[in-house]
């Protein structure tokens, strides 16, 4: 009986180990057993509120760039860099990658991609702000520290031509913003503080309106 228990245990362990490998990460490009297949189109359409055609369009583009079904950070950075030829997009791409890669597996599958996109395009203002909060929250601990804020602001400024010197440096801007958002001045920003600030600030609200406009068509 002990032997059978051992065998079962062994089998479970092997299965676990295999499943881990199958969760979507394809670190070894030759390992075809861990090739990624997206979920059912219908289910995706229902859960992400995109139409079938839209999901098809996105998937085709996704698959064109990463035929294996997963994209790792380097590939993601390359693609993102194509949109910002004048600056250094690596930092911001890194931040984006972290947000999209929910389970921290090191690669983004199509499901991650489409869910992220759905939140941004089809989600409500609260969802979008929550997503933005998690973008700023680099280490995913639920709070934004000043360092994280500076990191994000610096990354954004680097997207544009880095040799230009603005009259306001990114550090100053970041600190300024941090102190503004951090209402109780405890050195960290929580989700509530973030939401409160964004809903009060006129510029941000108009920015969000513009953002909504982008997706109305």
């Amino acid at each position: 009986m002990l032997a059978s228990v051992n065998i079962n245990l062994g089998r479970k362990l092997v299965r676990n180990w295999k499943d881990k490998g199958k969760s979507g990460a394809a670190t070894d490009p030759e390992d075809t057993s861990s090739r990624y297949r997206p979920g059912d189109l219908q289910a995706l359409a229902l859960s992400t509120k995109f139409t079938r055609r839209e999901i098809q369009f996105f998937y085709r583009g996704f698959k064109q760039e990463c035929p294996s079904g997963n994209i790792d950070e380097d590939g993601f950075r390359e693609i993102y860099a194509k949109f910002f030829p004048f600056g250094d997009s690596n930092q911001y791409a890194h931040l984006l990658f972290n947000v999209l890669d929910k389970n921290q597996s090191g690669s983004i599958s199509f499901d991650d991609f489409i869910y992220g996109l759905s939140t941004l395009i089809k989600g409500s203002t609260e969802d979008r702000l929550a997503w933005t909060f998690s973008l700023y929250d680099v280490n995913n601990d639920g709070f934004i520290t000043e360092d994280e804020m500076l990191q994000v602001v610096g990354a954004i400024y680097r997207l544009i031509d880095t040799t230009q010197s603005d009259h306001v440096s990114p550090e100053e801007r970041g600190q300024d913003l941090f102190t503004k958002i951090d209402a109780n001045h405890d050195g960290i920003i929580t989700l509530e503080e973030f939401m409160t600030y964004c809903s009060k600030d006129a510029t941000i609200m108009s920015g969000l309106d513009m953002y909504n406009l982008m997706w109305e068509t």
Partner: protein
């Protein structure tokens, strides 16, 4: 940019991260006028019957090519709602793959020029060929260019045949290409003969000829028949000197000629003789005189002008200089090593032939080349061991650079053979081309006559039944040429050789097509423009035909112009 068009929505979505830190209000987004999503549309591209379908997005990835820009609208077929290209579908496959994957591949089985043509038609520059295929493409392009250059050069070389009238240039060409004239050929063979005679005389000079009466030892022929050999030598040297001076005179660039290898060989061949004449029978210098005779053997190198194989061999050795250098260097290294070891191994042996290291060099060389004369043999066990290793390594060291030299020789030899073959084929090819041109010229002339007759008949208001179904293009073309003739008062002319048969054919046709007897009378009556069998100027017959119509006769001035100022058109 558009290659990641599907990701653009994501990039825009991710811009939400910038919203909190924005100082200024963000600009309004552009609203597409056309609500329909353009990226969902498929294009059908029909290339010579084979249909390719792709997303509009795919081809718009590269907007500076034909397919990606408005230029493709020129090829849009409204009836079938597809883009039609009358091009090669096999190569188009690769071009479309370029749009799909971003990499342009070059198929090895396709001809380079046709591929290049397709690329230039579709507006794609060859530089975007992917790394996997780029080298192959470059190599073939270079080969092609070299071949074209070769052809052009040889064409130019032969094309200049008619132009040179200068004596000097004629002589130079005669020297370089013996096949251009009989005199050159004669000269070529005479010099060849004398080279052979000279070399043979040098050889026979040293053979033992039998005894002179009163002498004990047999004499070499050179000393027995001294006068004969001297006369022979003089004659040969005369010929060679004359040849050299003539070449020097005819050379277009004298300095370059003097520095060239062949001229140096010529000089070395004849100089010993003159130096020998100058030297008296002094004992001191007679040794030097004997040495000079050795240089007479250089005459044999003069054969390289006569033999292409020899030239190729020389050229090969020159081009393999690096390999030969490596061979010599490695041999030298090995020789020194083994000679040293042998010397110290055999030093203790009494009466050993290995007296010094340089003396051991001889043994090493003989062993490494596996000659093994046996004049120097090791006696100690150590020496024998080293000798064995020496001979084995010799085989290896010599065998290594030899295949490189052989392959070089083979390549150059085949190249020169191909050039020769092409030259020979070129003559046949030119003859065939000329024939084709002539026949097309004849066809053109006959058609021209037919249409002119028809036009003339039309002018006269005749009805031509049995109207031949000539296509409208030909008729318009001839009408155009006729307008030109009328404008300039000159007439088109064709090669004299063909006109007789053509004229007779035309007359025969005209007889069939013109029913009225009146015209037949005109035809048969030689009205100042007879129908001779001899090659008369065409103008006369044209005048006849134009008078056939009965309309205004060709102006007399035109007649004179016909004869004197006719225009030769190149047959199309």
């Amino acid at each position: 940019m558009a290659s990641v068009a599907a990701w653009l929505p994501f990039a825009r979505a991710a811009a939400i991260g910038w919203v909190p830190i924005a100082n200024n209000p963000l600009p309004a987004p552009p609203i597409p006028k056309d609500k329909r999503r353009a990226d969902d549309e498929k294009l059908v591209i029909n290339v010579s019957g084979r249909r390719f379908e792709t997303w509009r997005n795919t081809v718009e990835k590269y907007p500076d090519t034909l397919l990606g820009s408005n230029e493709r609208d020129f090829f849009y077929d409204e009836d079938t709602k597809e883009y039609f290209f009358d091009r090669d579908p096999d190569i188009f496959r690769h071009i479309l793959n370029y749009y799909r994957t971003g990499k342009l591949h070059y198929p090895k089985h396709e001809c380079l020029t046709s591929y290049d043509e397709e690329l230039s038609f579709f507006g794609i520059i060859p530089d975007v060929i992917g790394d996997c295929c780029y080298e192959d493409y470059r190599d073939r392009k270079r080969e092609n260019a070299e071949r074209l250059l070769d052809d052009k050069m040889s064409e130019n070389g032969e094309g200049n045949l008619v132009k040179l009238t200068n004596l000097r240039e004629k002589m130079w060409r005669a020297f370089e290409n013996p096949h251009t004239s009989t005199a050159a050929l004669v000269f070529y063979y005479v010099t060849g003969f004398f080279i052979a005679v000279s070399v043979l005389a040098n050889v026979v000079e040293t053979v033992e000829c039998g005894n002179l009466p009163g002498k004990k030892e047999p004499l070499p022929c050179g000393e027995r028949y001294e006068v004969v050999f001297f006369c022979l030598d003089t004659a040969c040297v005369m010929i060679f000197t004359a040849e050299y001076l003539l070449r020097l005179f005819a050379a277009p660039d004298r300095c370059k000629f003097v520095r060239s290898v062949m001229s140096i060989i010529d000089v070395v061949a004849i100089l010993p003789y003159y130096i020998g004449l100058g030297i008296t029978d002094n004992d001191d210098v007679s040794g030097a005189f004997v040495t000079l005779r050795v240089f007479r053997v250089c005459r044999i190198f003069k054969f390289s002008r006569h033999s292409q194989g020899l030239r190729i061999l020389g050229y090969t050795l020159k081009s393999c200089a690096k390999e030969l250098g490596f061979l010599v260097f490695s041999l030298a290294m090995a020789i020194i090593i083994f000679a040293t070891v042998m010397f110290y191994a055999e030093k203790k042996v009494k009466g050993s032939t290995f007296t010094s290291i340089p003396a051991s060099f001889w043994y090493t060389i003989v062993t490494m080349t596996t000659l093994g004369y046996g004049d120097m043999v090791p006696s100690t066990a150590m020496g024998k061991l080293v000798g064995g290793v020496c001979s084995l390594s010799g085989v290896l060291v010599i065998a290594l650079p030899v295949p490189v030299i052989v392959s070089n020789f083979s390549r150059i030899y085949h190249q020169s053979q191909r050039t020769d073959k092409r030259k020979a084929q070129k003559k046949a090819r030119l003859a065939r081309i000329k024939l084709a041109k002539a026949s097309s010229g004849a066809a053109f002339a006959s058609k021209k006559k037919a249409s002119e007759a028809r036009l003339a008949a039309q002018e006269a208001g005749l009805e031509l039944d049995g109207h031949k179904e000539d296509d409208i293009f030909e008729m318009q073309h001839h009408h155009l040429l006729r307008c030109l003739e009328k404008t300039t008062n000159l007439y088109h002319n064709v090669e004299n050789g063909h006109e007789e048969e053509l004229r007779e054919i035309q007359i025969g046709d005209l007889e069939k097509s013109t029913p009225t007897g009146q015209h037949r009378v005109h035809l048969n009556a030689p009205s100042g423009a007879p129908l001779p069998a001899e090659g008369r100027q065409n103008a006369g017959s044209l005048a006849t035909i134009s008078q056939l119509g009965g309309g205004e006769p060709s102006p007399p001035a035109a007649d004179d112009n016909n004869v004197t100022g006719y225009m030769r058109i190149s047959t199309l």
